[in-house]
Assembly symmetry: D3
Homo-oligomer: 136 residues x 6
Amino acid sequence: MKPETTTAIANREVKKGDVLSVARVAGIQAAKRTSDMIPLCHPLLIGAVSINFELGDDFVEIEAQVDTVDRTGVEMEALHACSTAALTVYDMCKSADRAMVIGELTLWEKTGGRSGTYRRFVEDEAVETQQPVEEV
Amino acid sequence: MKPETTTAIANREVKKGDVLSVARVAGIQAAKRTSDMIPLCHPLLIGAVSINFELGDDFVEIEAQVDTVDRTGVEMEALHACSTAALTVYDMCKSADRAMVIGELTLWEKTGGRSGTYRRFVEDEAVETQQPVEEV
Amino acid sequence: MKPETTTAIANREVKKGDVLSVARVAGIQAAKRTSDMIPLCHPLLIGAVSINFELGDDFVEIEAQVDTVDRTGVEMEALHACSTAALTVYDMCKSADRAMVIGELTLWEKTGGRSGTYRRFVEDEAVETQQPVEEV
Amino acid sequence: MKPETTTAIANREVKKGDVLSVARVAGIQAAKRTSDMIPLCHPLLIGAVSINFELGDDFVEIEAQVDTVDRTGVEMEALHACSTAALTVYDMCKSADRAMVIGELTLWEKTGGRSGTYRRFVEDEAVETQQPVEEV
Amino acid sequence: MKPETTTAIANREVKKGDVLSVARVAGIQAAKRTSDMIPLCHPLLIGAVSINFELGDDFVEIEAQVDTVDRTGVEMEALHACSTAALTVYDMCKSADRAMVIGELTLWEKTGGRSGTYRRFVEDEAVETQQPVEEV
Amino acid sequence: MKPETTTAIANREVKKGDVLSVARVAGIQAAKRTSDMIPLCHPLLIGAVSINFELGDDFVEIEAQVDTVDRTGVEMEALHACSTAALTVYDMCKSADRAMVIGELTLWEKTGGRSGTYRRFVEDEAVETQQPVEEV
């Protein structure tokens, strides 16, 4: 991602609108419709969804957190939210920066449920705690 | 992705079903519904969609190709198809391999349209020509 | 709304079909898909939905009632049902009466839930009790 | 609508997020999915959609403009966009201001198409020209 | 289908509502969303849809007609409309008549398009001309 | 259905792809979205869905089984899954065999729920036990 692109996003100067704001709504909507798009995902009633963005020099980091009281995990909902938010960022910036890459989408942490708590590497978690959190 | 996972996919031994077959359908359906999920995408009538998979030792490479005769580009449809197919692979294999990463989603080539032809680096294209193509 | 329009609706003479019958189905379907359309609405499982119409001289009054046993309120579902039913009436009558206005959509009564019972002004409620109720 | 509510919207202090930004996305998405919700609406490919808001002391005025090159009118798409944007404003502000009323949804101007140009009363149009236009 | 069931449908006495009216709306909506449900169906813009019902002693005959100016056939849209209308009839009558069978769904006639005109057996067509046509 | 068609399906030689595999995904997706398509169906959270196919000489038999822990029956979900899977088979084979008929869709067995167990005729059940079951 070009530094000009992240600067334009930060300054809300992208011609198609406020990128992070639109991407957040897209991510929330996607979380709710995950079982529509992923064939073997169970439909479930998600509770809170939050999508957080961190703007780097040449990247946008996206983190989604999804809660449920349902009988099954919601990691697919969180991944689908991130993925759709990232595609929305791409779509809104692509006329100025066609070579953007969407990368490294993965599960970070899962708690509760039958399969117990899962956490990715500790050094990554250190990065996570530095993220500003905007609650929707 | 663990080598055991790609082996299980190749041998159609994943418990949830034939992974690539389900992922292909998911990708095609996603291509058709891109403007439902990406807020500022124009609705358009896509023509042919093909989703191709290459199984590596520890990865699945996914390539989507979308055609249209409409007045606008379909790169978002192709990216959305790849992304949804990848999430479907993740979903079907996640109980055995939770640490999978979905990565490096990007536009490879775009032809036609007002903005002319776009191609990513030449050395990548060499890889592309080695892919087996399964037409849907 | 022109008196001719309400007369045509009452006599089932509108060319596009039986207006209230189609509007009722549209309202019920809309209630079920509220969280698809309103970004920050939680998905929930609604129970009974009833949409009732009262034909006046120059207006159609629409009332929706939605029940749920879920953990959250369903006023958005009821408002979405009314709004979609009203747009359906507009759509089916617009070729003869383009100047129709859809107005005064509001919450009438809410019972149960954490926030307790809410009721709009008492004098309005008197009108409500005169409505014929067609249960779907 | 309480003056406190419009002030909170203007200052982006509503707890659920940036109200007008979310409502704009909801309106655009709704315009694209009108034929899904209104039974006798034809599906069509809409072009540009813009949703504009004017904040008054105790109201939010919403105006949607939809273009198409298709064979039929898009007034239902514009009305559906306004209606969904208004419901989104209601949803995001309802915990603080339950008595809000959504009102006076109507067609303002339609140009092109077989049925020719339609304009609502001239004095209303004067108001329209004072609206700040935020293009999406 | 029990004769009591068709009588109840004809007299609009089914408890869940006016069966044919709801089934007609369901069929029209289904025609518009065919490519959402049938994976390899191309999305296309359908024009007029009409769903016609003939009530027999112990059956409801459903016929759908779909027009398009698009580049491809709409037989799947017509079959999907019939199928969904039939399921709606089943759903609304099932509490009184659980043993109903939905049967003999097939393409009757197709005109235009690259593959030319197709017509099913002539003796069946004789039946078709006796159907009352209710245009939506 | 022509014997050539069932042979082509069995040998995975149909030009549009692996028919039963695509039809299974279509059926599962349809089960999840039943209340979107059938107006008076309640939305509910389905659990496991399995779609099984038996290839005869000149027919494909489709059986869907749907489980739920919800408060209401899921027979509409099972019928919708079968119906959509059958339409998918039709769609993928129609260029070679336009005269196919989709027939005899009915409820086979329902257990649990307020209305008790329902079973269709015993002689049919004998056939059922011979079906190969492919679990998704």
